[in-house]
C-alpha cells in the first residue's frame, strides 16, 4: 500500500495547484481536498504550504482571486487561472510529466 506523503516538493505543489485550477475555479479548502482525493490517500496537502503557494502564484499573475459567499454567508476566496496561468499550467504539466518519465526510467527498473 502506498504511504501517504505529507511533504510535496514546492515546484510540484505549484504544478498541482495550476493543474487543479485548470479544471475549475476552486477555493483553498476545495482545492486541497480535490488534490487529496485525486491522489487517493497518497498525498496530504499542508495548509502551511498551500496558501503561501496560492498567494505566490497570485503575486506572479498566474492565478486571480475573487470573493464569493459560502452557503452560510461567510466570505470565501475563489481562485482561477489567468491567461498567463493557463500557459504556465501547460508548461508545468509537461515539465513534471517529463520528470516523472525520467525518474521512472531511472528508478523504475530497480
Amino acid at each position: 500500500m502506498a504511504r501517504s506523503r505529507d511533504v510535496v516538493p514546492r515546484g510540484a505543489l505549484r504544478a498541482l495547484v495550476l493543474a487543479a485550477l485548470a479544471e475549475s475555479d476552486l477555493h483553498g479548502y476545495a482545492l486541497a481536498r480535490r488534490l487529496e482525493e485525486r491522489a487517493r490517500g497518497t498525498l496530504k496537502i499542508r495548509e502551511g504550504s498551500l496558501y503561501p503557494a496560492l498567494h505566490e502564484l497570485e503575486l506572479e499573475g498566474a492565478i486571480a482571486a475573487t470573493w464569493t459567499r459560502a452557503p452560510d454567508g461567510r466570505r470565501r476566496r475563489v481562485y482561477s487561472l489567468t491567461r498567463a496561468g493557463k500557459r504556465a499550467a501547460k508548461g508545468a504539466r509537461a515539465e513534471w510529466l517529463a520528470i516523472a518519465d525520467m525518474l521512472h526510467e531511472l528508478l523504475g527498473a530497480s
Binding site: Y29, R76, A88
Partner: protein, 205 residues
C-alpha cells in the same frame, strides 16, 4: 477557534490589508473542515484545528510571501522615477565630487533607499515566476521589483539624453559622461544577472 485564529493573524508580520484576506481565507478553510467533519460524524472543533496544521510553519510561509503584496507595479514605477530623477540631478548638478566614487555611492544609496520593501525577496519571487508567451518570445511577467529595476536604470539616462539635446540646441556640443553615471545601471544589471542565474539553477534543480 475563531478567537485563536484572529489572534494568530493579528500577530503576523504582514501588511494590514493582507491580514483581512488571510483571516477570511483561513476562517473559511477551518469552517469548511469543521462542516465536513460534522457531516462525517467527527469532532468539528478538532477537525478545524487539524485543518490549519502547524501554525508556526504557516506563519513562516505567510510572512515570507505576504510582504511582497506591500507594493504594486505602479507604485514601483513611481518609486523608480523618483529615484531616477534624484540620481540624475545629483550626478549632473552637484559638480565634480559626484563624478567619481562618491557620486556612485550616493546614486546607489538613493536607489536602495527608494526600492520597494523586501525588494530582493520580491525580485527572487518574480524571477521564479512561470514564463509567459509573447508574440515573438517567451519571458517573465514584469512584477514590481523588475518594474522598479528597469525604471531606475532607464530614468536617469532618459533625463540626461533630454538634457544633452537641449544643450546641443543651445550650442553646447561637449559631452562629458562621468563613470558614476553607470553605477546604478551596473549594480542593477549585476543583481539581475546573479539572481537570474540563481533562479535558473534553482528551477533546474
Amino acid at each position: 477557534m475563531r478567537d485563536d485564529l484572529e489572534r494568530f493573524v493579528a500577530s503576523l508580520a504582514i501588511p494590514a490589508d493582507r491580514k483581512a484576506i488571510v483571516l477570511a481565507e483561513l476562517s473559511d478553510h477551518a469552517t469548511s473542515a469543521a462542516e465536513a467533519a460534522a457531516r462525517d460524524g467527527l469532532d468539528p472543533e478538532a477537525a478545524a484545528r487539524h485543518a490549519l496544521g502547524n501554525l508556526e510553519a504557516l506563519r513562516r510561509s505567510l510572512e515570507a510571501v505576504e510582504s511582497s503584496f506591500r507594493i504594486t507595479r505602479v507604485h514601483a514605477v513611481a518609486r523608480g522615477l523618483v529615484a531616477g530623477v534624484l540620481v540624475a540631478i545629483v550626478i549632473d548638478r552637484l559638480g565634480w565630487p559626484m563624478m567619481g566614487a562618491l557620486g556612485a555611492l550616493v546614486a546607489l544609496a538613493i536607489t536602495a533607499a527608494l526600492a520597494p520593501p523586501h525588494a530582493l525577496a520580491l525580485l527572487r519571487s518574480e524571477l521564479r515566476a512561470p514564463r509567459v508567451g509573447g508574440t515573438v518570445l517567451r519571458g517573465l511577467p514584469i512584477g514590481p521589483a523588475l518594474a522598479y529595476a528597469f525604471t531606475v536604470m532607464a530614468a536617469p539616462f532618459a533625463i540626461w539624453i533630454g538634457m544633452i539635446v537641449v544643450r546641443a540646441r543651445a550650442g553646447t556640443l561637449v559631452l562629458d559622461v562621468p563613470w558614476s553615471a553607470y553605477s546604478v545601471m551596473g549594480a542593477v544589471c549585476l543583481v539581475l544577472a546573479v539572481e537570474g542565474v540563481r533562479a535558473r539553477r534553482g528551477a533546474e534543480a
